[in-house]
Symmetry: C2
Subunit: 424 residues, 2 copies
Amino acid sequence: MNAIVDPAAIARAALEEAARAARAAATILARAPRPTKDAALLAAAASLRARQDEILAANEADRAGAPDLSPAFKDRLTLNPARVEAMARGLEEVAALPDPVGRVIAEWTRPNGLVIRRVAQPIGVVGMIYESRPNVGADAAAICLKAGSPVILRGGKESLNSAAAIHACIVEGLREAGLPEACVQVAPNTDRAFVGAMLAAAGLIDLIIPRGGKGLVTRVMQEARVPVLAHAEGVNHTYVHAAADPAMTRSVLANAKMRRTGVCGATETLLIDRAVAPSLLPLLVGDLRALGCDFRADAAARAIVPELPPAADSDFSTEWLDAILNVAVVDGVESALEHIRLHGSEHTEAIITEDAAAAQEFLDGLASAVGLWNASTQFCDGGEFGFGAEIGIATGRLHARGPVGLEQLCTWRYHVIGTGQVRP
Amino acid sequence: MNAIVDPAAIARAALEEAARAARAAATILARAPRPTKDAALLAAAASLRARQDEILAANEADRAGAPDLSPAFKDRLTLNPARVEAMARGLEEVAALPDPVGRVIAEWTRPNGLVIRRVAQPIGVVGMIYESRPNVGADAAAICLKAGSPVILRGGKESLNSAAAIHACIVEGLREAGLPEACVQVAPNTDRAFVGAMLAAAGLIDLIIPRGGKGLVTRVMQEARVPVLAHAEGVNHTYVHAAADPAMTRSVLANAKMRRTGVCGATETLLIDRAVAPSLLPLLVGDLRALGCDFRADAAARAIVPELPPAADSDFSTEWLDAILNVAVVDGVESALEHIRLHGSEHTEAIITEDAAAAQEFLDGLASAVGLWNASTQFCDGGEFGFGAEIGIATGRLHARGPVGLEQLCTWRYHVIGTGQVRP
């Protein structure tokens, strides 16, 4: 018997087969009209509702197979009727969004009469790598499908039964709409080596989207030979300028830090101008403490509110995703920008001020994907931006930055319309 | 004596020092107003003219140091007074272009009153890797500077003296305008390992732009851990549809193939519909042959024009960059698209037809960066698109596609303007 047991080679072969099927599907999906894509999404939503019992049983099996998970992990893994309904509604919401493919992004006419159009186009084959959150797979499938890009879904190993049950519903939708089933595939190989094969698949996969914790995203960004839509951590700052309105500051900061502490748009560090810190910082600390927030403060802040615990330097570069706020006193806009450059992750930062010139200086000085003036950092979200659906928040420098919705998941090409022009 | 002679480690240290200086310069250059950037470009142009003799002497030394180059290589390396003047004028032309940084690309208001602006922003630090063509360094420096991104230039080793002399002029321009000299740097280390260090510099270099032959670009794309603006080869097609106007076909094809055979927008393959091949192909062959073109033809084409040399399958995937045209007979739009998918490089393709529906079907079915209808493929060029200056033609799927000018060399961020909004 000729036993080949190299898991990497097996994973590579499985990935290649899946990716080739996806590429063949891509040429059909790229040209699929909106009604066809929407029909697939609506039929998949109906199938999710019809097969709810199967999905919940599969999810039960997943949870039974992994009894030692943390409560937070278990919560993310768990499906119930409300969450299945939410997935179905999510597919319907994507169906209701305009088709991003084929949009004319820009059009101009050259002196020689050539009409040049920049037209939105699907990216190609997407590889989605995520953790054991079954709903992420359904959301990603819907967004990629509507954006005209086949997707290969590789979720966490604890959620394989759930992923398969959800995938069956999506395939039913594709079939009903007459689209190739290879438009949405789940990883056919459950070995960890399959992730490595995806990351190495230059020319087969056009874009990798990692969605999960820092460990996953870091591995993907380090290993990938395929372009990655990086979603780095959000070490976000709210900067309270000397000319901040105190009442606005109190309500915006409480929201930015405590509305939900586990989202990537949450504020992790408060920067406050020295001029207003003595009057304002005690109030802000009191507000947040009442909401259950703890602190890590620099020496200048502790000189004002002595009971604040001291911050280590590394705290200022930490994405807590928890009810902990770093506090540092700064000396104006440039000083705030310098702190952000040193410790931030180019995700989301806000300034609170009534001084428009200071706000402009702050926004212009940021390299971050999102800068806000007098608003909560928690607005960094595709829904809040009006995108309707998002597949992540991009923090890299290329392609898209900030919330990635249907439009950002597209690329473009040029259509040049002539009447026989030749180049001199 | 403690002799460390690991060239890779030395190159890495040199790159890190250069990149850190570039990153520090980036925060200044990103906010530099247009007049400052333009002043640097104009002063650099004046310096190029003033130091023409030095530059030509340096170029002379480069050529003396590499006597065994091919004529084409030597031509690309050679500078003369006209070429120095052209470089100076190139800098002035970039100065005359609008500032791409800070443009509001899109703006909308949310129901909660938040104003969201997508604002153009510099990419960061660019690493430019190119061959021994001194003018490429000057062009790239000008475009990156105007786009607000510091650049590290790594040209071919045969052109080091020329690159240094040109760089001295650009530094003079930066100094006169009060911009950091680190905005434009030449590789401080001439070892080949420096390229490897650039390609590995994730977090230090934001974008690598390779410009040169297939070998260089392929190495960069395979090795880079930094995002690359890929400029793959142009295996471009002109497809003559059954409803093509014969006179237009003759003039457009002759231009697309023979205007300049060495540019990436040149047509490499003629696809011609079976219905019109018997009448049209002999005329096209005659036209092109009179211009000095040779052919590689499939069996169906040879059945019509028997003296055409036969094509090997690999010929259809070859970027000749020479007076050679592949010829294949196809059966309509889908057949042409299939040939292009199999053999093309997603660069530039044209259809010649009077049938608007066929043209639309062709353009919609392409994945290529540029698709033209009734125009020469040689229009794939930043100048011809109206961009004023270009740093290359992008053929990847992300960020920019087609000619990359100042706007495409920018990324974006969001500015969100509120009045104290908090997220529900």
